[in-house]
Symmetry: C2
Subunit: 126 residues, 2 copies
DNA sequence: TCTTGACTTGGATTGCGTCCATCGTAGGAT
DNA sequence: ATCCTACGATGGACGCAATCCAAGTCAAGA
């Protein structure tokens, strides 16, 4: 555990936090001016491998990193501005996929993404 | 409707088809040797806007295009080889998100992705 | 035939992520 | 205290996916 990794872990803390790698880097630089992007990527990769952080690809653009990995949850994404909210899962999401529909796959996790417009984007009409 | 767009639409046809833009381009070139990648991107974007094709970002790498947009469905993705299968939805996926958990969002669609190992990858051990 | 506008083309460019050679540094051995 | 060693950090180069843009092509209508 180096100071660089500690800073990355500290930056990723809180509720409804879904930063891109560049955003993590920008915030890490405020505390450790010489930290490089490669190091941020390494640290993020390690946190993901440890299960401390969840990696999201909600828009086909930059991946986002969600520190709320302790408790499973789904995501609510604004189609216009990209805002993301965590929402609690209702029931067992795995129940939606009965054995006979699994094509022999060993299913280990489920990702649910709700898409729509957030209140402020919905207000600004279509 | 130009010949280029028709070819792109024809390439994207069938069950469990989830091609990347480059794969679509490669197949389109077989029928129309001079078609450019930019044109393929344009045609795909139009098909997505028309609701004829669904765009997927399952791995944070190249987007994939799914022509099975007529009937809603979910996806089963192999974490190792990337194989994708369509699976029918069970019940109303929207039911998992009660009004009081929507943070004021206007939710219009839900994406469900099951991740795990396909039979052949599971066979080859961890 | 000429004009117009929509579409296509291909190369340049951007955004995101990874790779790699090199450097720095902490901890152990002497 | 000094030297060795190894792991992590650095930053620049690279690769892939996607988009942008200026120029070219084509078809339909005046």
């Amino acid at each position: 555990m180096t100071s660089q990794r500690r800073v990355v872990a500290e930056v990723l803390d809180g509720e409804h936090v879904h930063l891109t790698a560049d955003e993590v880097h920008a915030r890490a630089v405020e505390r450790l001016p010489e930290i490089s992007r490669a190091t941020v990527y390494n640290a993020l990769g390690e946190l993901v491998a440890l299960g401390e952080v969840v990696e999201l690809s909600t828009d086909g653009r930059a991946k986002r990193y969600d520190p709320n990995a302790r408790h499973p949850h789904h995501h609510l994404v604004c189609s216009r501005c990209g805002t993301i909210r965590d929402v609690p899962p209702a029931g067992d999401p795995m129940a939606g996929l009965p054995e006979e529909e699994r094509f022999g796959f060993t299913v280990s996790k489920v990702e649910v993404t709700y898409r729509g417009l957030c209140p402020s984007c919905a207000g600004r009409a279509a």
